[in-house]
Symmetry: C2
Subunit: 337 residues, 2 copies
């Protein structure tokens, strides 16, 4: 392996081409400033010979913008956040922005450390997805860098989100329409605003239908397959046994499916199951999962677009994206008694 060498600077190129650094800069950046064709030629040749490529750091320092954006997510391993991230990165790449990834694990201290680091690196903006964005966090970055929040509403901060209350309500209404009266909710973690909103929608729909859900019908748990598995096993003890389970995301629904199978209950004949997110696997579970599609990829794109607007100086309106109930095989009428 060759030694790492000091790379060529604009000065080296200038010397090699027999021109000034200013001229090199103009050529390299395709500036509108006029440069004689012959001179341009010489510069380009020198660039090629020396393998010169500009130092973006120096440029950033001067221009006071880095073309970097930070993205805070609880965990990339979660398919929902992976899609979100993919959407953001696609837009960022189109605009020549680099994306730095930060996994917060929903830990406030970790999140704060990341925000601080991003501040020091003078990133052009931050997207905060999942987890909390507290007053303290906001105070820390206020006026220093643009912020877009994804998945929840924070006063004074542009956001991209879906109406989780309404989405959950529609899912439950669908179950009610199928004839279900005993509907349980496998909620996500209590600390998640998204999880709380979905529970709220669930409660609203049941209330509309004149159903008063006993406390045991709502089980808070982690946003994972294992979380859903355990929550399902817990909630299925309730009597009368629920005939439908609304899980707070697809992975939890997946866990629930397994729990039901182990208990010898058929889906959807004995128990219906609905998930959230419409993760790629949802179409491939057995039975295929009925789920509320959340447009994660699109939300990611939108979040970055808002950030670009914000960077441009304008204050964009919040974006509320539509959700859609995708009916597959895991839901049906309740069993007749």
């Amino acid at each position: 392996m060759r030694e790492v060498v000091r790379s060529a600077t604009i000065w080296d190129v200038a010397r090699a081409a027999g021109v000034s650094p200013a001229t090199v800069s103009r050529v390299v950046n395709g500036s509108s400033h006029p440069v004689r064709a012959q001179t341009r030629e010489r510069v380009l040749r020198a660039v090629a010979e020396l393998g010169y490529y500009p130092n973006h750091l120096a440029r950033s320092l001067l221009r006071r913008e880095t073309a970097v954006v930070g993205v805070l997510v609880p965990d990339v391993s979660n398919p929902y956040y992976a899609s979100l991230l993919r959407g953001m990165e696609d837009v960022a790449h189109q605009h020549g922005l680099a994306v730095v990834l930060c996994n917060t694990d929903r830990r406030p201290t970790k999140q704060r450390a990341y925000l601080r680091a991003l501040l020091e690196r003078r990133v052009d903006g931050v997207v905060v997805a999942g987890g909390a964005f507290t007053r303290a966090d906001e105070a820390m970055v206020a006026g220093r860098m643009p912020v877009v929040v994804v998945g929840r509403h924070v006063a004074g901060v542009p956001s991209v989100r879906v109406d989780n209350v309404e989405a959950a309500r529609q899912a439950c209404r669908y179950l009610v329409a199928l004839g279900h009266r005993h509907i349980a909710c496998l909620a996500g973690p209590r600390s998640s605003p998204t999880a709380r909103d979905r529970v709220r929608g669930y409660r609203a729909a049941l209330q509309e239908a004149g159903i008063v859900p006993p406390a045991a019908w709502v089980v808070w748990s982690a946003f994972t397959a294992s979380g859903g598995y355990h929550a399902a096993r817990t909630v299925l003890w309730a009597r009368p046994r629920p005939t439908a389970l609304v899980a707070a995301n697809d992975q939890m629904a997946l866990g629930a499916l397994r729990a039901l199978r182990e208990l010898g209950l058929r889906v959807p004949e004995d128990v219906s199951v609905i998930g959230f997110d419409d993760t790629p696997v949802a179409a491939y579970t057995v039975p295929a999962l009925t789920t509320v599609a959340i447009p994660a990829y699109e939300m990611g794109r939108k979040a970055l677009e808002l950030l670009l607007v914000l960077r441009g100086g304008a204050r964009p309106p919040d974006a509320v994206l539509p959700t859609e109930l995708v009916v597959r095989e895991s839901t049906g009428p309740p069993p007749v008694l």
Copy 2:
């Protein structure tokens, strides 16, 4: 929203504290250079008052290192790469490094554009996972920044990988031991070295067992559930029909499971299925998936550790991590005729 203001510089702090910028620098960086306690106090107070935080760009420019690493993956949405990324980011974060995410979509031009951008940003190193790392790519970065390759071997470049040939061979041996003779392979994309290695291992195992697989038993397809679904539907036309399917990853296996179900074939009674990766969902499919576990998270960690060693000037040995066959419910003896 407040106006974005020019942030305080080391000069502002110096003025406010009535000292020189050098002194501020020493205090802020916890330099070993002696500073009188009282002076330090004044500086710290000024820092707090002005909300000063150092400009990492300026420091990077001076020190010629950015504490940034780039990561090239085909697609974060793929759970395997998401885990890998998570492993890398965890180690990076521990060492104060920022991770820049790049999705290449396995497109050579896109990959090259990213490498160029990372070069311009003077990142301290790059991890290339998935996709090709060609001679041209190598020439481009050689001696300019450290590179670690994940998942394949490139002469002269440190790498982290598993023995895919051996892993596939063991999976097939297991099927042979169960009594299978008609084993088909749902291969990944032909362009993927990983996919090719797995096919090689498959062929080796069959050869050992004295089986000569007809060409129709290997179907190349995308690394997705949909890819596996279509590949399975194709391969199940073969007569005699295969009694076992080895998929190149879990998502393809998931697709295969669905195809089998649609055809009315039971798993594992009629057809056995094996996946690769041991993605979180593998334990939750129905039936639960037998799969070859690839330690993605650990590979990610290891890759970043190698990069750190490389950055330190040493040339680390390649890391070959172990795989493990995880037997669940999707495999069993072939049906008796």
